[in-house]
């Protein structure tokens, strides 16, 4: 089912402009010459700070080493990995912000770092932690700026805005200055601003970071709908498993700039986490549930169990039948745990 860990060396570099492939990412086909970046480095402390005024030391950073993948048009791919894994670097390479020192990258038939206008007209980048809307002026005026920059005709613009409005419910927000919006409202507007030119490829770097659950769900539903309507290709990074579960059939896990997994989300969960977590609240305290599964924690009248996925229904049934249960929830282990499992393999 899923793609093998570390895909075999790439025999299909000829299909760069093929309609089957929207994105080809091969920054480094031959591992020894991996791309690296020079970043300034400074020891902590005042002395070092003064020294760095005179002489700067730098170190080379290899952000991505063994990552290669292709993405088909209309596909939504989730990038997972801990902070500093190289997710953002990969997105930056794909959106033309970083020059890879080796290898080839192709997005909708273009080499991103050439930053061709046709390429830039067909992609968009959303970073959950950075805003492009202008702080002091109404949202609509920031939109107007993008409309002018992307040369969108008024007719086209109004059509797109109506659609985004219907999906994201922006009408009350457009006339407000950005500084008066809540984080969630701002993110809705940020995403709308990034989609006014109807890009075919979306690079989303943690678009739901810091949002409450309702707003996360809202954004998620919107992105799914946008993808369906416009067959847009989406590359998404997120720390929220729910984002990935809701949107991405395929996930790519990277760590230390290396690709650890590329394949179906279900395969990932089955392969690396054959367990589910059951949390039960009971009417009695300190019940011994070790007969039902591994007891992870037991505090007061709440017990957390880990059971093999295949036995979840069975165990849940028994718990409900045999014990005075107040509340019971079945959860997938958190993404961190799954990823930890991936790392430990």
């Amino acid at each position: 089912m899923g793609h093998p860990i570390l895909p075999p060396s790439t025999p299909h570099s000829q299909k760069l402009t093929s309609p089957q492939t929207h994105i080809t990412f091969r920054p480094c086909p031959t591992p020894p010459t991996s791309p690296s970046y020079e970043v300034p480095q400074r020891e902590p402390g005042l002395g070092a700070a003064i020294k760095s005024l005179v002489s700067r030391t730098t170190r080379d950073v290899e952000a991505v080493k063994n990552i290669t993948f292709d993405v088909a048009p209309g596909e939504i791919v989730g990038f997972l990995g801990p902070n500093g894994a190289g997710k953002t670097t990969t997105l930056k390479m794909l959106s033309g912000l970083l020059h890879p020192t080796a290898g080839e990258i192709s997005v909708i038939g273009h080499t991103p770092y050439a930053r061709h206008k046709d390429f830039l007209n067909r992609i968009t980048l959303v970073m959950g932690q950075r805003n492009q809307l202008m702080w002091d002026i109404p949202v609509a005026d920031s939109f107007e700026r993008n409309r002018a920059i992307y040369r969108i005709s008024h007719g086209e613009y109004n059509k797109t805005l109506d659609e985004l409005n219907a999906l994201l419910d922006l009408s009350d927000l457009l006339s407000k200055p950005v500084r008066n919006l809540s984080l969630g409202e701002r993110m809705k507007c940020e995403i709308a601003a990034a989609l006014l030119h109807r890009p075919q490829v979306l690079f989303l770097d943690e678009p739901t970071i810091g949002l409450d659950v309702t707003m996360q769900r809202r954004i998620r539903a919107f992105l799914g709908e946008y993808n369906r309507r416009h067959s847009a290709t989406v590359l998404l990074t997120s720390h929220y498993m729910a984002d990935v579960e809701a949107l991405c059939k395929r996930v790519i896990i990277i760590h230390h700039g290396e690709l650890l997994f590329d394949g179906d989300l279900n395969t990932l969960i089955e392969r690396f986490s054959p367990h589910k977590t059951i949390v039960v609240d009971l009417e009695v305290e300190r019940a011994d549930l070790s007969a039902y599964g591994d007891v992870v924690t037991a505090e007061g009248n709440s017990v957390t169990l880990r059971v093999p996925k295949t036995k979840t229904a069975d165990v849940t049934g028994k718990l409900l039948a045999n014990l005075p249960v107040i509340d019971l929830t079945v959860e997938d282990p958190p993404i961190e745990e799954v990823i930890e499992q991936v790392f430990s393999n």
């Binding site: 970046y37 930056k92 033309g96 020059h99 950075r130 805003n131 002026i137």
Partner: protein, 261 residues
């Protein structure tokens, strides 16, 4: 046409931004009037002791003050805020959004912030200049006017390119606002004809920090002092700096892309 439209859009945004803090208008008006007042008082004091300064009469120096305020207004309205914004954006990574737009990044960065109320300086400067010319009896012909327009444009471009190169350093050094403060204080020296300064300072103000080409040379054009040499040098230096700053900008972009990982 596309670029003119964008300039208009950014002007509009500048106005909207200023409208968010309307008191600024009055503060700026007061500040501009105060600085004009002190500058004229300074001139009055100097010329109460002497008739000419480095060969310039009081009325010519008043015209120079007009050019000084006008160019300072342009710098303060567009160049300085946009370049400061560029440095902030690079440091905070917001510059990514500029780079992913299908428009020339240097152009977008150069007009990104417009502090519209500085237009008061531009208007006051133009007013002082015209007043000085009228006082002199409007004694300039079309040749002088044309030469003035030419060296004003080349001088403005020189200042812009110079400022752009300073700001571009941010791609390597991230925090360099201090350099711009140095420039700001050097610019102040331009309110007097640079001929009155000692030789070494004149050299610095001409080539190291090209204030001379932005202020003194245009003022010379208005008072019949402009030599063909200055005219040609201004044109050549303008072309040279525009090309070099563009090249430097592109180098900087490459470096930004590298360091922001």
């Amino acid at each position: 046409m596309y670029y003119l439209k964008l300039i208009w859009i950014f002007f509009r945004i500048g106005l909207l931004n200023e409208m968010a803090y309307r008191v600024n208008f009055y503060v700026q008006l007061l500040q501009s009037l105060l600085s004009l007042g002190t500058a004229i008082a300074g001139l009055a004091i100097v010329f109460s002791h002497t008739d000419t300064l480095g060969g310039w009469e009081a009325i010519d120096i008043l015209a120079l003050l007009g050019v000084f305020m006008f160019v300072g207004g342009v710098i303060g309205m567009v160049i300085s805020p946009s370049m400061s914004q560029l440095m902030d954006d690079v440091r905070l990574g917001i510059f990514d959004y500029t780079l992913t737009k299908p428009c020339d990044a240097q152009f977008l960065a150069s007009i990104s912030q417009i502090r519209l109320w500085r237009i008061i300086d531009i208007l006051l400067g133009a007013g002082v200049l015209i007043a000085a010319l009228i006082y002199r009896g409007l004694d300039i012909g079309p040749r002088e006017a044309l030469a003035f327009a030419f060296v004003l444009c080349t001088g403005g471009s020189i200042i812009y390119s110079f400022w752009l190169m300073l700001a571009t350093l941010t791609f390597w050094f991230l925090r360099i606002e201090n350099i711009l403060h140095i420039f700001q204080s050097m610019y102040e020296a331009g309110r007097w004809p640079i001929g009155i300064y000692p030789h070494w300072l004149r050299y610095i103000l001409t080539f190291l920090v090209p204030v001379a080409f932005a202020i003194t040379v245009p003022a010379e054009a208005l008072s019949g002092r402009l030599t063909p040499d200055s005219l040609i040098t201004s044109g050549l230096l303008c072309v040279f700096l525009v090309v070099i700053s563009r090249w430097f900008w592109k180098r900087g972009l490459k470096n930004y892309s590298g360091a922001s990982a």
